[in-house]
Subunit: 182 residues, 2 copies
DNA sequence: CCTGTATAGTTGTATATACAACTATACACT
DNA sequence: AGTGTATAGTTGTATATACAACTATACAGG
């Protein structure tokens, strides 16, 4: 997408400053970037972990969480999977030996998803590789100031469209005082 | 995602300026925004057009193209679907009466995907509604300058990760002189 | 002109995910 | 205590998409 509708665009030129001038382009670009990034990065993430789809994000979130374990519902909300989707994704991760389920003291309905030791080391390696790949892919496209600016603006957008995704980072920053993603 | 790996982050603090400082956060934010936008916007796009998934983008691209028709392969490349995925998506659109297939003079292998009259009017209405929804969703989060800046930065990222997605816009801007998305 | 290779599109098949229904547990209110 | 509602997670089912194999057409080189 990222395509304007010209009449709309003209209509909005002199509209109030809290209205976007070109909403479809903003959304289109985000979606197009996301599609491209998935295309480019998925293969190596899949190979590194042996699992496909959103599973890599599940692993990263577990890895970054306290003790490598999280409640299913929290993990679902933050990864953008439905609870059912997460159940299946975790099934695959358990089968692949990267994760395990742990029951939850004090709430017998609940389950924790947790990384195994194998899972932890595999994810650690995959993250290093992943960072390098992204860096290679985008090197030169964004200067350091651009990068900061982009992060700042995307955080504002995310706050509106997917605030749950930021939750783990909040916890982390509260817990260990690092700057975090928020 | 959008989570830092602290040790890596420290390593990169004084690295060359064409290296990203925090690659995972940049990518994570883009992915999180995309997930959130899909969640928020898909239902109404689906209802407006009667089709799901990437089909809305197929429709928008056709709508913005010369004569409302495009070659299958071009459309696939630009939407980020595989050719096979597009074949199926177009099947659904044809079945829904929004699109038709047209054979391609001069290349008997080729097919055009084209909007029907019903398709055109349905898409026109859906786009108007879609723009309003996005604008409502993001109003106040980004000022006009922020919006321009975000578009500029995302274009640079897209150029690296998904340059094909911009192709139609190039054609359009060459053809009718509008500012376009590029 | 014939043959080998490349390209356009479709079809067979596998799978990741969503939605809805279901079970089990927790909690609130009387 | 008992009952009704809310929450946590899983399972049945549908579907959109990807990958690989296939058919048909184009084109280039001898």
């Amino acid at each position: 997408m990222a395509l304007q509708t010209p009449d709309q665009d003209q209509l909005r030129q002199e509209s109030a400053s809290d209205q976007l001038r070109d909403p479809i382009t903003v959304v289109g670009l985000i979606l197009e970037c996301a599609i491209g990034l998935r295309r480019r990065l998925s293969p190596s993430m899949d190979i590194a972990t042996g699992v496909t789809g959103q599973a890599f994000e599940v692993l990263v979130r577990l890895y970054r969480s306290e003790g490598g374990a999280m409640r299913m519902s929290d993990l679902a909300a933050q990864t953008g999977l439905t609870r059912s989707g997460l159940t299946r994704a975790l099934d695959r991760l358990v089968e692949g030996g990267l994760c395990k389920r742990e029951s939850c003291d004090g709430d017998r309905r609940g389950m924790f998803a947790a990384l195994t030791e194998i899972g932890k080391s595999r994810v650690a390696a995959a993250i290093l590789n992943h960072e390098q790949e992204i860096s290679d892919l985008l090197a030169g496209a964004l200067g350091n100031e651009d990068e900061e600016e982009l992060i700042k603006l995307l955080r504002r957008v995310r706050q509106r469209v997917n605030p749950d995704a930021a939750f783990l980072s909040t916890i982390n920053s509260l817990a260990n005082g690092q700057e975090s993603d928020i």
